[in-house]
C-alpha cells in the first residue's frame, strides 16, 4: 500500500517537475529555491550555528567571553544575529544574481516573487541555524551540532517525498519553497508565519539552556 502510494507520488512529482522545468521560471525556481538553494544555505546555516557556542567552548575562548560584564542572553543573541545577517546577505545576493542573470539571458523575473521567495528561503534557513545553535549550546564540539542539525532538517523533509496534502502541511520545506510565491500569484502569508515561528522555536529554547549551562 505504502509502496504503491510512493510510486504514484513519485510519478506525480516527475510530471510536476517536467511541467515546471518546461518553463524558464519553473526551471530557475526548481534549481535554486527548491533544490540547490536550500541545500547550500542549510549547510551554511548549520556550519554557522554549530560553531556559535561549541567552537568558543572548544577553543577555550568562552571563558574570555563569559568573564566580561555582559549577560549570556546578549552574548548568544549577538552571535546569533550576526549569523542571521550573514545568511540574509547570502540569500539576497543569490536573489540578485538570479534577477541579473535572468535579465541578461532575456527572461526577466518577477522581482517581488524572487524577493518573497528569497525571504521565505532565508526564514527557512533560520530554522536550521537555530537548530544548530541549540545543539551548539548542548554539545561542546562543533561536529555533533553540525551533524544533528542537518540530520534533523533532513528528517523533517521526508514527508515532502510523498505528495500528500496532509503530510505536506507538516513539511517545512513545502513552506520555504513555494512556486506560487515565486510566480507572484499569491502572497505566502501562512508560509511566512510558519517559517518565522519555526525559526524562533529553537532560538527560544537555546536562550534558557545557555543561561543555565555550566562551563
Amino acid at each position: 500500500m505504502v509502496v504503491k502510494e510512493f510510486i504514484e507520488a513519485r510519478s506525480q512529482l516527475q510530471g510536476q517537475i517536467q511541467q515546471l522545468t518546461g518553463s524558464y521560471d519553473g526551471y530557475v525556481w526548481s534549481q535554486w529555491f527548491s533544490k540547490n538553494g536550500p541545500d547550500i544555505l542549510a549547510i551554511l546555516a548549520a556550519v554557522l550555528g554549530a560553531s556559535l557556542i561549541a567552537s568558543e567552548v572548544n577553543k577555550g575562548t568562552i571563558f574570555f567571553l563569559l568573564s566580561k560584564p555582559v549577560s549570556r542572553d546578549r552574548v548568544l543573541l549577538t552571535k546569533y544575529l550576526v549569523s542571521v545577517l550573514i545568511l540574509l546577505g547570502v540569500s539576497l545576493l543569490s536573489g540578485v544574481a538570479i534577477l541579473v542573470a535572468s535579465a541578461m539571458v532575456g527572461h526577466p523575473q518577477n522581482v517581488g516573487g524572487v524577493l518573497i521567495s528569497t525571504i521565505l528561503l532565508w526564514l527557512g534557513m533560520l530554522f536550521v541555524l537555530g537548530l544548530a545553535l541549540l545543539f551548539s549550546v548542548l554539545f561542546h564540539d562543533v561536529l555533533r551540532p553540525l551533524i544533528f542539525s542537518l540530520l534533523f532538517t533532513l528528517l523533517l523533509s521526508i514527508p515532502g517525498l510523498i505528495s500528500n496534502a496532509t503530510l505536506n502541511a507538516w513539511n517545512l520545506t513545502f513552506y520555504w519553497s513555494s512556486f506560487a510565491a515565486y510566480q507572484g500569484t499569491m502572497f505566502p502569508l501562512k508560509a511566512l508565519l510558519i517559517c518565522l515561528v519555526a525559526a524562533l522555536v529553537p532560538v527560544l529554547l537555546a536562550i534558557p539552556l545557555f543561561r543555565k549551562q555550566a562551563y
Binding site: 577555550g60 568562552i62 560584564p69
Partner: protein
C-alpha cells in the same frame, strides 16, 4: 538586592572574597565540598592544590560561570550568583587555558574588550603591552604561550579591576617568562592595592609572591592562613647526632609535644615542629645523646604543602 549591596559595601574593606560552605558537584561527584574561605582585600592569595583538587571549579563559581550546589559565594561584596554581572564588572579573570582569539590582533582585542567593559583605560593597556614588548600588528595565534599570558594580563588591567583572579597564570611558561610575569604582578599590580587571587601548583612561585595561602585537596580546604603566620608557627628543627641515635630515642623524639613529623637519614633527624621550637630544642639538647649540630630553619611552602597532603592522605 539593596541589602546585599549594603552588606557588600560594608565588608568590601575587609574581604574581597567570602565563600561559605561552598559545594559544587559534577553529577554525583563532589568537586568542591563544604569550602569556606575568606580572602582579605589587598591580599595576594595563593590557592594551592594538586591537579583535580577543585581550584578551577572554585574560581569558576566565583565568576558565576558555574552555579554552586550549596553554600554562598560573595565577591567584592556581591553575590556571585545573583549579581554575577556586578562581580564580572569588577573582576579581571585569566583562565588556565588560552582564552584569547587567535585570529585577532592586540588592537582588535582591545576594541572588543572596550565594547563589553563598563570602563576602559587604553593607556593602561598600552603601558603594559609596551612593558612586555608585545607586537601590536601580529595576530595572537602567532604569539608564544608567555606572550599570550602577558597580553591576557595587560587586557585585564584595561577594565581597572579591584580583584584579579588568575587560574594557573604561569602554567606552561619557561622560568624566565614566569619570573618576569610574577615580578610584574607584584611590582605593578599588587602595589596598586588590588587583590590578587591566583591558583597554582608551583609551590615556589606561590611562596615568592603570595602573602596568604590556601591549600585545597579533593574539594576541601585544608589550610588557609597568612604565609608568614604559618612559617612563624611551624619550623623545622634539624638535628645532627654524633652517633646514630637509637630507635628508642627516635620514638621519644616523635612523641615530644610540638613535633608534627619526623624524618631520619642516618645521624640526621629532621623534625617538623609547631609552637615554641626554642624550648623544644633545649629539651632535646638536654638529653643524654650528644648532638653535633642543632639548626632551626624556616619552613618552606613545599614542606608545608607536603605535610598537609600527607596528613590528609593518612586521615582518609
Amino acid at each position: 538586592m539593596e541589602a546585599v549591596n549594603q552588606t557588600g559595601a560594608a565588608s568590601k574593606a575587609s574581604a574581597a572574597i567570602e565563600l561559605h560552605n561552598l559545594e559544587v558537584k559534577y553529577g554525583e561527584r563532589s568537586a568542591v565540598n563544604d569550602l569556606s574561605l575568606t580572602v582579605p582585600a589587598g591580599a595576594i592569595f595563593g590557592f594551592l592544590g594538586p591537579n583535580g583538587a577543585g581550584k578551577t571549579t572554585t574560581i569558576k563559581t566565583m565568576l558565576g560561570l558555574r552555579k554552586p550546589d550549596g553554600g554562598s559565594v560573595c565577591v567584592l561584596g556581591y553575590d556571585a550568583v545573583m549579581q554575577s554581572l556586578e562581580v564580572r564588572a569588577r573582576v579581571g579573570y585569566m583562565s588556565e587555558v588560552n582564552s584569547l582569539y587567535d585570529f585577532l590582533t592586540i588592537p582588535q582585542h582591545c576594541a572588543f574588550c572596550r565594547s563589553v567593559s563598563r570602563q576602559w583605560d587604553q593607556e593602561m593597556v598600552d603601558r603594559y603591552v609596551s612593558l612586555f614588548g608585545l607586537p601590536t600588528n601580529r595576530k595572537v595565534g602567532k604569539f608564544s604561550k608567555g606572550m599570550k599570558s602577558q597580553l591576557a594580563l595587560s587586557l585585564l588591567m584595561g577594565s581597572n579591576p579591584d580583584l584579579l583572579i588568575l587560574d594557573e597564570p604561569t602554567a606552561g611558561l619557561d622560568p624566565v617568562a614566569r619570573h618576569q610575569f610574577l615580578n610584574h604582578l607584584v611590582a605593578e599590580i599588587a602595589a596598586q592595592g588590588k587583590t590578587i587571587f591566583f591558583s597554582s601548583h608551583i609551590l615556589s612561585e606561590v611562596e615568592a609572591v603570595a602573602d596568604w595561602v590556601g591549600i585545597i585537596r579533593d574539594g576541601k580546604l585544608i589550610v588557609c592562613d597568612e604565609l608568614d603566620h604559618l612559617k612563624q608557627t611551624q619550623k623545622v628543627l634539624k638535628l645532627t647526632y654524633v652517633e646514630l641515635p637509637p630507635a628508642a630515642e627516635v620514638t621519644m623524639l616523635r612523641s615530644l609535644p610540638g613535633v608534627m613529623s619526623l624524618e631520619q637519614e642516618g645521624r640526621s633527624v629532621r623534625l617538623l615542629t609547631h609552637g615554641d621550637v626554642e624550648s623544644l630544642s633545649q629539651t632535646i639538647q638536654a638529653r643524654s645523646h650528644a648532638l653535633r649540630n642543632v639548626d632551626i630553619v624556616d619552613l618552606d611552602l613545599e614542606d608545608l604543602f607536603l605535610k598537609y597532603m600527607k596528613e590528609e592522605s593518612n586521615g582518609r
